[in-house]
Each structure stands twice: as C-alpha cells, then as structure tokens.
Symmetry: C2
Subunit: 103 residues, 2 copies
C-alpha cells in the first residue's frame, strides 16, 4: 500500500533542501512548530490541509505543484506493486546512475 504522507513529506523536504532553507526557517515562515514540520517531512504525521497550504506558501511552491509531484511519485510506486506484491527493480544500478545525471 502506498502511504501518501511519506510522499508528501519527501516532496516538501526536497523543495526545502533545494532552496537551501533550514527546517527552522520554513517552520517560522509557515507558523508551524519545528518538530511538527520535521515529523511531516519524515512522513510520521499526517499534515492538515491548512498546514500543507502554509508550508507550500512558505516554500513559494504552488500547492498544485506539490500535489503533482506527489502524484508522479505515487504513480511510480504503483508501477512496482501488483496486488500488493513488490516487483523488484531489475534495472542495473550503473544505468540508473547514468540516467539520473539528466534529471
């Protein structure tokens, strides 16, 4: 089963890190507790709609883009599960490294 809050957390963290912002900075801008934001990023807490909107705004990322990226990640995960059975990735690691240079 794909767990949405893990994907939301990853997307939020990747935007924050790409911008070189600390958890503390984003938490302050979004008016949320630092510990709470940290738990959200790690997928340990469900995020409310209001807080998600605040965090996206603090990152200057449209909420629609956050959700689009979440959708893409979920789609990739769904592609490797069939009837809840994990289908192992058989692409050689060397190839994956090569391809990710372009992403």
């Amino acid at each position: 089963m794909v767990i949405l809050r893990l994907e939301i957390g990853d997307v939020l963290r990747s935007h924050r890190q790409r911008q070189g912002q600390t958890l503390r900075q984003v938490a302050a801008k979004a008016s949320v507790a630092l510990g709470y934001l940290s738990e959200v990023e790690r997928g340990q807490k469900e995020v409310s709609s209001e807080i998600l909107a605040s965090v996206a705004e603090a990152l200057s990322v449209p909420l629609s883009l956050v959700m689009r990226e979440v959708s893409d990640r979920v789609a990739a995960l769904e592609g490797i599960y069939i009837d809840d059975t994990y289908i192992p990735d058989t692409v050689p690691d060397a190839f994956v490294t090569e391809v990710s240079l372009y992403s």
Copy 2:
C-alpha cells in the same frame, strides 16, 4: 487559501457517483465508517493516508490518479486567486456550457 481536503473529497465523490455506487457500498468495501466517508467526501474531515488508499482501492482508482485530479483542481483554483484575492470568472455562462460539451 486552497483547502486540499475539499478537493480530495470532491474527487472521491465524483468517482463514486460516476460508478453508481452508494456511500454505503464504498464504505463497506474500504472498511471505513459510513459517516466518516461522508464527512471526507464533504471535505469536513482530513483523511488519513491509509484510509485514502483504502477508499481509492474500493473505487478501483489508482491513488496516483486521485492525486493527479486533485492537483489539476488545485491548479485551476490557484489560477483564480492572486494573493488570496478571488479573481471573478468573467467567461459567459453560455460559453462555459458550450465548452464543457467536449470535456
């Protein structure tokens, strides 16, 4: 501010209604309380990641598609807000009706 749970609720309800399923049928398949699912559809309750996955599965809709549709709705809403101010829709109703014939 765009409230995500309202969009999630609308997307779930629209899939259910298009399939001609009742709240009771989907709630039973997803093993969630009828009243809870009803509140989720109306955007009155945040849905947990686990329950969202169950409901999507009960509807036979990939979670990624649900999130993609949510993202599209949020994008449309973001387009009509600038700095939290609602920009009224000035497209004539007749035109909207005409265009939606193709959607």
